[in-house]
Structure formats: C-alpha cells, structure tokens
C-alpha cells in the first residue's frame, strides 16, 4: 500500500491560536477515513491543511508525494462552510463545471463536450439534474451541499476531502450519497469529517479522533474511554441504528 497523505509533527496556528498540535498521521491509498472530534477540535483545519489552504506552522506534510499546495486537480474538497459568492450570476451547471477547470490550460479555455457530459452525469447521479439552470444561491442547504459534492466529484480527484458533507441532507439523500461514496472508494481515497456516529460506523474503513492532536487512529471501533478522552466528557454512543461493530461490549448497557 502506498501512503497518499503523510503528516509528521505538524502544528497549525491561526495567529496565536493553536488549532492542530503534533499531528503525525499516515493515510493509505484507497482508505475511507472518518474523522470525528469535538467542535473546534481542528477537523476542518486538518482537511484544509491537506487541501493546501492552510500551511503547517511547523512539521512536515506531504500529499501524493509533494507539499500540499502542489497537488492541484488531484484533490477534491467539499468545505463545511461555503465561502462562495451566493449572489453570483452562476447557474448550478456552471458552478459544477468549474470542477473541470485545471490550471494548465486557462488561456482561452472552453469547457468541452466531455466536461458537459461528465457534469450532466454527476448531476443525475446526485439527483440535482432538474435544478441545473437555477441560480446557485437559490438552492436550499441540502441541494447546495449536493451541488458542491458534484463539483468535487467531476474533478475525478485522487483524494476526496469531505467536511461534514451530509450535515444538511435528509435521510434518503444521506444514504444515497454514502453508497455513491462507497463505490467511488474503489479508486479514490476518501477523508471525511462527520459527527454522525452511525455513518462513521457503517461506512468508513478507518477512524481518527481529533481534538487538537490525534487521539486514535485505527479500525473504527470506539470505546467509552476513548470517546471520553476525545470529547472530554462521557459521550452517549447508543444512537439508534448503530451497528454493533463500533461498540464493543458495553458493561452498563442493559440489553447488550
């Protein structure tokens, strides 16, 4: 297996505020890594680091063998907060098409028929084809989230970074997206932040718990002690529909 993301003793500061401390993490190709952790734990910062949007204050970082910002076009990124210009005169199609733009042929660039077909297909897969001509700012939260997942997917990236990609989605769309991700995972490394333990348990191949530093990285099996460490307080694990694999036997639980 080759390593696609390699972090060694990475610290990230925003001014004086430390967001990540001493992160050492290797992510293998074709992994499906779930990242959990409390609010403000640095999950989004970790994804931005891999995407090349924030720089390590110290330590070393490689993505696909080069420094993070030198891998354009190979990394798809769906941010948690959309810092885009909502009033911009862009339709949904035009928004998703920008995922096909690469830095190499910007001069007199035109989107090809192949680009347009790829966008059509991804819009159909994600169920937003009917919205294609809507102005992007008019979409609902969940529709917007699907449009931006589509924009990342048309890039056909080697690594897909998803920051709480299904936070606004209804249950149906959620499981639809996860089954799509599962398919994509056959040829794409996926790194996903989520607060949804159910999802983490049933879809990811490995798990990282992050609260400024990495508390755990390994198979997706959670224990109370570990979660207590990460979240700083006992966490209610027993959510409806959580498969048992995540939860090793639980002493206090009556029907375990």
């Amino acid at each position: 297996m080759n390593t696609v993301v390699q972090l060694e003793d990475v610290d990230v500061y925003y001014g004086n505020l430390q967001a990540l401390s001493n992160i050492t993490l290797n992510i293998e190709a074709l992994d499906f890594l779930g990242i959990i952790g409390p609010n403000g734990g640095g999950k989004s910062t970790l994804l931005k680091l891999i995407a090349g949007l924030v720089k390590p204050s110290s330590g070393k970082a490689w993505v696909l063998g080069s420094p993070p910002c030198h891998t354009p076009g190979k990394i798809g990124y769906v941010p948690q907060r959309f810092n885009l210009n909502r009033e911009f005169p862009f339709s949904v199609v035009e928004t998703i098409l920008t995922g096909r733009l690469t830095k190499n042929n910007l001069f007199l660039h035109r989107y090809t028929d192949k680009d347009i077909l790829a966008v059509d297909e991804i819009m159909r897969t994600l169920g937003i084809y009917d919205l294609k001509d809507r102005q992007i700012g008019q979409l609902s939260g969940g529709q917007m989230q699907r449009a931006l997942i589509a924009r990342a997917l048309v890039m056909e990236p080697e690594i897909l970074l998803l920051d709480e990609p299904t936070a606004c989605l209804d249950a149906g769309s959620k499981s639809q997206i996860y089954s799509i991700l599962k398919d994509l995972n056959q040829y794409m490394t996926i790194i996903m932040v989520s607060h949804d333990m159910g999802v983490i348990s049933s879809y990811v191949k490995s798990l990282a718990c992050l609260n400024m530093d990495i508390f755990y990285h390994g198979v997706p099996e959670l224990t109370d002690t570990l979660l207590g460490q990460v979240y700083g307080c006992p966490v209610e694990l027993i959510a409806h529909g959580v498969p048992h694999r995540v939860l090793p036997h639980h002493p206090e639980e009556p029907n375990a």
Partner: protein, 268 residues
C-alpha cells in the same frame, strides 16, 4: 445631432470615447459589483487625482500620471490589506483622501496659472483629445483581451476563491490583475464622467442588467449596451443644452436604475 456628429471632430471623439468607456465599464463594472469592490474602485479613482496633479507639476500628459497613481494605489491597497489586520475600509478611506490631497498640493506647486481641474473631477466628454482617445483605446484592448482570454479562470475566481485555490488557479495573480484592470478602467472613465462620478457609471449598468439576467457574460454585455445608451444620451443632452456631460450621464444612469428598480415587482 447626427449632422453635427458627422461634421464636428470633437463630437466624433466624444462619441467614440463614450462607446469605449461603456465597454470597459460594462465588463469591469460587472466584476466590481459581483465581487463587491465598489468602495475599492472609488478609492482607486480618487487616488488617481494625485497623479493628475503630479502630471501638471511635471508637465506631462495628465492621464499618464493618473494611470500610474491608480495602478500603484490598487496594488498598494492589496498589499496593505494582506499585511495589516485593520479593515480595508479604513486603509481605503485614508488613501482616498491622501490622493486628493496630493493632487491639490501638486497643483498648488505648479507654476503659472492654475489648470482647470473640474474637467478631471466631473468629466468633460466634449473636450476629449486625440491623445485621450488613444490612451482609451489601448486601455480597452488590455481590459477586453485579459478578461476574454482568461474568462473561465476569472469566473471561477470571482465565484469561489477558496475552490479556485484548491484546483490550483493562480488566485493571487488573478486578484492583482483584477485590481490593475479596475485602475485602467478608472483611467478610461476619468475624461468621460470624472473622478467624482466614476462609481455610479461603474455600478448602475450592471445593477440594472443583473435584474434581467443570471449569467456573467450577458450581464457584461447588457451593461455595455446600457452604458452606451446612457453615455450617448448624456452626450447629446450635454451638447444640446450646454450642461456638463459627466453630470448628465450620471443623472440619466442613476435615475434609470431607480425607476427600473421601483417598477419591478419585488423579488423575495
């Protein structure tokens, strides 16, 4: 009017310069409105006045000095913005006034009779010279060629800077370029509507156009057409009634914007 236009050279210059100004204005004005750089553009325009003063002092072509000041202040504002944590508005406000102050200072130091600066402050399209026209043509070519050649890159950058960076677009370079193009547009517009009135001609056409279209290309195109209409109408009124052209153009543009916005059914 048509007869006069065919007869008088100064009217031909004025008309030609109105059309060129409208093209620059339609393209860059749309970018300014969509990227919310309206105040920034006002600031760049006002610092250009310092360049005009300096040109009089040195005895060179005023628009050349204006261009130097506009481009340098545009890039300077960018640098300062990145470096300091103060809100850009604050820096902008200071540069805005500093430009005007320098202009007045240079003019006061200029020996001899004080030059007529009102035509630079409020525009006078009827006095556009051949040199002005030549400068305007060159600026326009630069603006249209730059945006035209890198249109998709600009669109992506204007829409979502973060994503543009992730896919490896030269975001910082595109940003610099945008600011420089705004500075060049300012230079094109100085003779037409003047430093004080530029903001309205940059913003009114795209704001009207945006109510009728949802694509960047058509916003730019429609803004250009609207600009040509406003500028020609202003030019005609100015010639016929003998009132200042800049004022006429701006009053027509802004009044049209308000009338259209008022009679349009409100969108939720």
């Amino acid at each position: 009017m048509l007869e006069a236009l065919l007869t008088y050279n100064f009217l031909q210059n004025a008309f030609f310069s109105a059309i060129l100004a409208s093209i620059a204005c339609g393209i860059i004005g749309t970018i300014i409105v969509e990227k919310k750089l309206v105040m920034m553009s006002g600031g760049i325009a006002h610092t250009a006045f310092g360049g005009i003063g300096l040109s009089y002092f040195l005895g060179i072509e005023p628009l050349i000095g204006a261009m130097g000041f506009a481009v340098l202040s545009a890039l300077g504002i960018r640098k300062l913005q990145k470096r300091t944590h103060i809100s850009p508005e604050v820096v902008l406000g200071m540069l805005w006034a500093l430009g005007m102050a320098l202009g007045i200072l240079f003019i006061a130091f200029t020996p001899g009779y004080p030059p007529d600066i009102t035509s630079y402050l409020f525009g006078d399209i009827l006095t556009v010279s051949h040199v002005d026209l030549l400068i305007t043509v060159i600026m326009n070519l630069i603006i249209v060629a730059t945006i035209g050649c890198f249109f998709n890159a600009f669109k992506t950058y204007l829409f979502d800077e973060e994503f543009a960076q992730v896919i490896g677009l030269p975001v910082s370079w595109l940003e610099d370029l945008t600011y420089v193009l705004i500075a060049l547009t300012v230079v094109v517009l100085i003779r037409v509507v003047g430093i004080m009135l530029i903001i309205a001609l940059l913003t009114a056409p795209p704001s009207i156009a945006r109510q009728y279209t949802n694509s960047l290309q058509s916003t730019m195109l429609l803004s250009t057409i609207l600009g040509i209409i406003f500028c020609s109408a202003g030019l005609w009124i100015s010639y016929a009634l003998g009132i200042p052209s800049g004022a006429a153009i701006i009053i027509i543009a802004v009044t049209t914007y308000f009338l259209i916005s008022m009679f349009k059914s409100p969108t939720p």
